[in-house]
């Protein structure tokens, strides 16, 4: 049974601190090349290796990450 997850960022609330990036066990998150309205390079998911462990959401100071998880 495979576990698949997905993370959704609230881009306008993200301040681009990058605390979530080293926390991810599967290197899913990286800074975007684009900026949001405040000028921050926000974080985004770069691959689909997410397992829905919620580690990134746990450390996010601004609570911008929503996590979904499904067992396939």
């Amino acid at each position: 049974m495979a576990i698949k997850g997905a993370i959704v960022f609230d881009v306008e609330h993200c301040k681009g601190c990058g605390v979530c990036i080293p926390t991810c066990p599967n290197q899913v998150i990286a800074f975007s090349k684009n900026v949001n309205n405040k000028g921050y390079n926000y974080a985004e998911a770069v691959n689909d290796n997410c397992i829905g462990c919620t580690s990134c959401a746990m450390v996010c100071p601004d609570g911008v990450i929503t996590v979904y998880k499904v067992k396939l």
Partner: protein
Amino acid sequence: MFNPDIIKPENLVYKRTSVLTDNVMHYCPGCGHGTIHRLIAEVIEEMGIQEKAICVAPVGCSVLAYNYFDVDSQGAAHGRAPAIATAIQRLYPDNHTFTYQGDGDLAAIGTAETIHACNRGENIVMIFVNNGIYGMTGGQMAPTTLIGMKTATSPYGRDVALNGHPLKITELLADLPGTYYVTRQSVQNAASVRKAKKAIRQAFENQKAKKGTSFVEVVSNCNSGWKMTPVAANKWMEENMFPFYPLGDMKVDGQKVSK
């Protein structure tokens, strides 16, 4: 990117709690304050005490905490949050009054109020965010600044002969008979955040059972004041803050934990 079939309400495992308002927090990127706000809000949501919770906001970086918690709030004069919380909790004994203070507020100007509120054993929850620096005013030396740590007012590092020793106020409060639960936590990675949340939950449960003062110190970063990136600040905190401010429970159920 992700399979859109996964992003459905029934697969939701984590979302921002509704006890926090939608306002963008004014804290610097990567600041631990945001995480600690979120943990308190999640505990309030899980315990179903949003209508009963009363936040006492301090002076310092978290002076605008009432803009982010969707609970009743009261601002306090600098350092006097435990005194205000004492009054509120005595008038509304079934409510959940908590103070949220930084090290400049709790351990410097408010030392007297902190110690006496804890010594009286007021039935309040005190959240103490220790980042070893005065963040809001521009990174000056605080009582909790480590020896040798460079700040705006100690540019050559804190010197014991000139500036005295750092204050371990949490150890001090653990010795007082009024405190029921005293612990030190941190929020730099997922495991420590989960532990800190458990500690905050324990503090509010103690308050519900009317056990006395519950004191939760959270060692946090101040990446702007320390002049580091958020990730580097968390690493510096692990290497330098934790040896001096060891994590863990100091007093559980009114009994000191022997190390």
